[in-house]
C-alpha cells in the first residue's frame, strides 16, 4: 500500500508540473472589481491608519537607525522651527523670522503657549539648549553641521537668535530637520543613545508614542490632545509588521503600500484605490574607491564605466520601468535645480573602449581583461544582498569592455560600514535624500567637508578631489541670492558630469497605492519621495498647514 501511495505521489507531482506548464501563456481571468459606490473625493480623516512596520529604533533623535524611515517617526513627536510642505518651507514652531542684511543673524519669533506633552511650557531656552546639546551629542539625522553657527542667543522667552559664522544659504532649509528637544528632560541625560525612558519621547509634536515594540517592529502613535497646531486628521497611526506588504494591503491589514510595476494594472482598474508615482528622489550610487585603486583617479576610466553601464537597462530590468536612469550631474531630473544641458553618457560600449585605449589600458595577454603595466582592470564590487541582480547586470556589461568584476554580496549593515570606512574597491549603495537642497553636492563630492554618520559617504572616504568643485561648493554655500546660487549649482553639475566621481545608477520612482475610502490625505513634501514620511500627511490641512 505504501508503495502504491508513493508512486501515486510521484505521478501527482509530475502531473502538477504538466498542469502548470499548460497554464503558461494563458491569460489569467481578471477578476472584475466589484461595483462599489465610492466617492471620488476620498476620506479626509480616519480613526486609525495602519502602515507596514519594521524596527527603526526608539523614536528619539539619538536612537533611531541611520537607514530607513526612523527620522520620520521622530518627526511625529518632535517639532522643528520650520516645516516643509508641497511647495517649500513654512513656519512651524517659529511664527516668523528675520534675516539680518549681512545674512549672518537669524531671529525667530516663537509661537506662544506651546507646551511639551508633559505640560511644561516650551521656550527659547529649549532651542538654545538643543543646539548646544547636539554639538556634543550628534543626532542620527538633522544635526546642524559643525562650524556653521557661532552661537545661539535667547533674546526673550519667545525670541531666539542664531548667529552664524558666515552667511549660509541653506541654513533655513537645514533647520527643517532640526528637532527641538525638551531642556527640562535632556539636560540631565549624559548619554542620549542609551536614553530609552518613556520621558525621552516628550515632544511638542502632534503625536505621542503609545507603544513601541523593538522585537515585532511595531509603533503606535496617538494624537497629542495638547498639540498647538492643526488638528490631526488621523487619530492613531499604527505601524504593524507584515511579511508581504502587497498581500497585507489586499487583505486590508494595512492602508498604504508600495506597488511593484508588474502589479500596477491590478490596482489601476480599481476606482477605490489611488495609485500615484513617487518623484525620483531615491537612488543607487556606484562608488569608485580612488584611495585603494589609484588608477581610478584617471577620469577617462570612470567615464568609460559610465558609458559601459547601461543605466536605461537597469531601470527596465531591475526597477521594472519604475525609475529614471542616473544623471552624471548627480541631481535627478525631478530635482528643482536639475541642469538639463549636461552631457548624456548614453550606453555606448564603443566609446567606453576608446576611452580605455586612450588611457593606455589594453588587453595584452588576450584573457579578455584589459591591463597596463601588470595591473589588470579587475575589481571586487561590494553590494548589499538586495542589489545582487544589479551587480550581475553590471558584471555582464563591464565584461564587454574588458573590465572584470567579482560581485561580493554583504549584509546591508556591513556594506554601509565598509562604505563609511573606505574599505572597498567598487561599491553600490542605495539611499534616499536625492531631492534635498542641492547642497548635498558639496557634502558628498567635496573633500573639504565630510558628512559623518550618514549612509552616503563624503569624497574624502573614496579619495576624490576636485579643486574647482570645492571652490564652487564653498561659493554656493555663501550665496544668498537664489538665482545666482542656482547658476552655481548648474555649473557644479557640469563639473561633476565631466568628472564622474561616482555614478548614480538610477533613481526609483515607485508607485504608492492607498484606499481613498479609508484615508486620502497623503501628501509629498517638495523634496522627498515618501508620502508616509511627512507629518502634514497626518494633519488637517487648515490654518498654517493650509494647502498652498
Amino acid at each position: 500500500m505504501v508503495k502504491k501511495k508513493l508512486i501515486a505521489l510521484f505521478f501527482c507531482l509530475a502531473a502538477l508540473l504538466l498542469i502548470t506548464a499548460g497554464c503558461i501563456g494563458q491569460d489569467e481571468a481578471q477578476a472584475e472589481p466589484s461595483a462599489k459606490n465610492i466617492s471620488e473625493t476620498g476620506s479626509e480623516h480616519a480613526d486609525v491608519v495602519y502602515l507596514s512596520g519594521g524596527d527603526y529604533g526608539y523614536p528619539q533623535p539619538f536612537t533611531i537607525y541611520p537607514r530607513g524611515p526612523g527620522s520620520s517617526k521622530v518627526g511625529m513627536i518632535f517639532d522643528s522651527l520650520v516645516e516643509r510642505d508641497e511647495k517649500g518651507i513654512l513656519p512651524w514652531l517659529a511664527k516668523s523670522w528675520n534675516v539680518s542684511s549681512n545674512g549672518k543673524e537669524y531671529t525667530f519669533n516663537l509661537r506662544k503657549g506651546v507646551t511639551w506633552s508633559d505640560g511644561v511650557l516650551f521656550t527659547a531656552n529649549d532651542v538654545k539648549f538643543t543646539f548646544e546639546y547636539e554639538q556634543k551629542n550628534l543626532p542620527v539625522s538633522g544635526g546642524i553641521e559643525a562650524g556653521v553657527v557661532d552661537h545661539v542667543q535667547v533674546v526673550d522667552p519667545n525670541t531666539v537668535k542664531f548667529v552664524l559664522k558666515q552667511p549660509v544659504s541653506t541654513f533655513l532649509y537645514k533647520l527643517t530637520g532640526f528637532k527641538i528637544l525638551p531642556k527640562h528632560i535632556y539636560k540631565n541625560v549624559q548619554d542620549p543613545v542609551g536614553f530609552l525612558d518613556p520621558k525621552a519621547v516628550t515632544g511638542t509634536g502632534p503625536f505621542l508614542l503609545d507603544e513601541y515594540n523593538k522585537e515585532h517592529g511595531t509603533y503606535r502613535f496617538v494624537t497629542n490632545e495638547n498639540f498647538w497646531g492643526p488638528d490631526t486628521a488621523v487619530k492613531t497611526v499604527e505601524f504593524i509588521p507584515v511579511s508581504d506588504a502587497l498581500i497585507a494591503f489586499e487583505q486590508g491589514k494595512i492602508d498604504f503600500t508600495g506597488v511593484s510595476p508588474d502589479t500596477l494594472e491590478r490596482f489601476r482598474a480599481d476606482p477605490a484605490i489611488r495609485v500615484v508615482q513617487q518623484p525620483a528622489f531615491w537612488g543607487y550610487q556606484f562608488y569608485f574607491n580612488m584611495n585603494k585603486c589609484p588608477e581610478l583617479k584617471d577620469r577617462k576610466i570612470r567615464q568609460a564605466f559610465a558609458y559601459a553601464i547601461d543605466r536605461a537597462e537597469l531601470v527596465e530590468k531591475i526597477a521594472r520601468g519604475a525609475g529614471k536612469p542616473g544623471k552624471m550631474g548627480i541631481l535627478s531630473e525631478d530635482h528643482l535645480w536639475y541642469n538639463p544641458t549636461q552631457p548624456e553618457y548614453a550606453y555606448n560600449p564603443k566609446k567606453a573602449e576608446a576611452l580605455l585605449e586612450e588611457a593606455g589600458w589594453l588587453d595584452t595577454d588576450g584573457d579578455g581583461i584589459r591591463d597596463k603595466e601588470g595591473k589588470k582592470l579587475s575589481y571586487v564590487l561590494s553590494l548589499g544582498s538586495g542589489e545582487v541582480r544589479i551587480g550581475e547586470l553590471l558584471k555582464e556589461r563591464l565584461k564587454e569592455i574588458g573590465i572584470d568584476i567579482q560581485v561580493r554580496a554583504l549584509e546591508g549593515k556591513s556594506r554601509d560600514a565598509n562604505l563609511r570606512n573606505g574599505d572597498f574597491e567598487l561599491l553600490i549603495s542605495g539611499f534616499g535624500g536625492w531631492g534635498r537642497d542641492a547642497d548635498y553636492l558639496r557634502t558628498r563630492y567635496c573633500d573639504t567637508d565630510s558628512q559623518a554618520g550618514s549612509v552616503a559617504s563624503g569624497a574624502r572616504v573614496f579619495g576624490y578631489h576636485n579643486a574647482t568643485l570645492n571652490a564652487l561648493a564653498a561659493q554656493q554655500l555663501q550665496e544668498t541670492d537664489e538665482e545666482k546660487r542656482k547658476e552655481i549649482i548648474y555649473e557644479m553639475q557640469l563639473v561633476l558630469a565631466e568628472d564622474v566621481p561616482a555614478i548614480p545608477l538610477y533613481y526609483t520612482t515607485s508607485y504608492d497605492a492607498w484606499r481613498i475610502s479609508k484615508y486620502d490625505g497623503w501628501m509629498n513634501m517638495y523634496d522627498h519621495h515618501a508620502r508616509t514620511h511627512s507629518i502634514l500627511s497626518y494633519l488637517k490641512r487648515d490654518g498654517l498647514a493650509k494647502k498652498r
Binding site: 508503495k3 507531482l13 503558461i24 506597488v259 511593484s260 544582498s385 545582487v388 547586470l393 560581485v407 549584509e411
Partner: protein
C-alpha cells in the same frame, strides 16, 4: 539508421514551425546517440574486454531488476538529471550567465522555459544548476561518507585512545545544531562553493564514522578475520580485503542520504542569500525568484519559480527512492554474510 533519418526529418518539420528550441533539444539528443555509438565502437576494438563488459552489464541489469518500481523511477530520474548536468552545453543554446533575451520572456520558441528578469535563459540555468547541485551533493557525500567511514573503520579496528577520542568528537558534532551553525559559519566565511562544501562536510562526517565503527567492531570478532589474523595478515590487508568491503554497502546508503541532505542545505543557504550570489544553482534561482517583488501577483512565478522547485523535488525524491531500495536490498545480504 532509418530511425535516425526519421527523427531528423521530424526535427526539420518542427523547425519549419519555428520551434528552434525544441529542435536544438532533439539535435542534442542526436548528439548523445552519436556519442553512445562512438563509445560502443571504441569498446568493439577491445574485443577481449567485451565479454567482461557484457557480464558486468548483465550484473548491473540484474542488480537493477532487484529494485522496486519506485526504485527504478529513482534511478531513471537520477540518470536524467545526471545527463542534464553532463550534457548541459549540448542541451542548451544559451550560456546561463549571458543576457540573451528580454526581461521575463514567457516560455516560447526562443527560450524554452522563458527568461528571468535580467533576460537570462531559465532552461540553461536549470541545466547548469543541476551541475552545481550534483557537484556539491556528491562532493560532500563522498568526502564525508568515505572520509568519515574510513576514520570510523580505523577507530573501530584500532580501539583504545584513538577510538575514545574520536567518539567524543563525534558526540560533540552530532549534538551541535547543524543548520543554525551552518548559517552563522557561512555568513562568517563568506559565500563561495568551496566554503559551502567544507562546512557541509564538517557537519556530516560524524554519522558514517560512527556507523562504520560499530560495523567494524562487530566484524572484527568474526572467526574468519581472527583466522586470517592468526595466519599473519597485516592490519592494512585485513581492512582492505575483509572489513572495508563489508562496510561499503552501508556507507553507500549513507552517502546517498548525505548527498540529499547536502543538496537541501546548499539550496537552503543559497535561498537565504548565503551562497555564491552570482552562481547559477537551483537554490539561487529560488532566491532570486522569491526576492522579486510580489512575484505571486504576476504570472512570472510559473516559469521562474516552479522549474527549479520541481527539479529539486524530483532530484530529492529520486535519491530518497534509491536509498530506500538500497537499504532493503543491501541489508539482508549483509545479515546473511554476517551469519557465516
Amino acid at each position: 539508421m532509418m530511425k535516425g533519418i526519421d527523427t531528423f526529418g521530424k526535427a526539420n518539420e518542427i523547425e519549419a514551425f519555428g520551434k528552434a528550441g525544441i529542435f536544438s533539444f532533439i539535435r542534442a539528443l542526436n548528439h548523445t546517440i552519436i556519442f553512445n555509438k562512438i563509445i560502443t565502437k571504441i569498446s568493439n576494438f577491445k574485443l577481449v574486454s567485451v565479454s567482461g563488459l557484457f557480464s558486468k552489464f548483465e550484473k548491473i541489469a540484474k542488480f537493477f531488476s532487484s529494485f522496486s518500481l519506485e526504485g527504478k523511477i529513482g534511478v531513471l530520474g537520477l540518470f536524467c538529471i545526471f545527463s542534464l548536468a553532463i550534457f548541459a552545453p549540448l542541451l542548451t543554446t544559451y550560456p546561463p550567465q549571458k543576457i540573451t533575451g528580454n526581461s521575463l520572456e514567457p516560455p516560447g520558441p526562443e527560450h524554452i522555459l522563458g527568461t528571468d528578469e535580467l533576460g537570462m535563459d531559465i532552461w540553461a540555468q536549470i541545466c547548469y544548476g543541476a551541475r552545481m547541485s550534483l557537484t556539491i551533493g556528491l562532493a560532500v557525500a563522498f568526502i564525508a561518507g568515505f572520509g568519515g567511514g574510513a576514520l570510523g573503520i580505523l577507530a573501530g579496528y584500532k580501539g583504545g585512545y584513538i577510538d575514545q577520542g574520536l567518539m567524543r568528537i563525534i558526540d560533540i558534532i552530532m549534538a551541535l545544531p547543524s543548520f543554525p551553525l551552518l548559517i552563522v559559519i557561512s555568513a562568517f566565511l563568506g559565500p563561495s562553493i568551496l566554503n559551502v562544501v567544507l562546512i557541509l562536510v564538517l557537519f556530516s562526517w560524524a554519522k558514517p564514522a560512527r556507523i562504520a565503527r560499530s560495523q567494524t567492531l562487530s566484524l572484527k570478532q568474526n572467526p574468519y578475520i581472527l583466522a586470517a589474523k592468526n595466519y599473519g595478515a597485516k592490519p592494512f590487508y585485513l581492512l582492505r580485503r575483509h572489513i572495508f568491503p563489508e562496510v561499503l554497502p552501508v556507507l553507500f546508503v549513507l552517502v546517498i542520504g548525505i548527498s540529499s541532505h547536502a543538496i537541501i542545505a546548499e539550496t537552503g543557504l543559497a535561498f537565504l542569500g548565503l551562497g555564491d550570489p552570482t552562481s547559477k544553482s537551483w537554490g539561487m534561482m529560488l532566491n532570486h525568484a522569491t526576492g522579486f517583488r510580489s512575484i505571486y501577483f504576476t504570472p512570472y512565478w510559473k516559469w521562474w519559480l516552479l522549474p527549479p522547485l520541481f527539479m529539486l523535488i524530483f532530484l530529492l525524491l529520486s535519491l530518497a527512492f534509491i536509498s530506500r531500495d538500497m537499504e532493503s536490498i543491501l541489508d539482508p545480504k549483509l545479515k546473511l554474510k554476517k551469519g557465516f
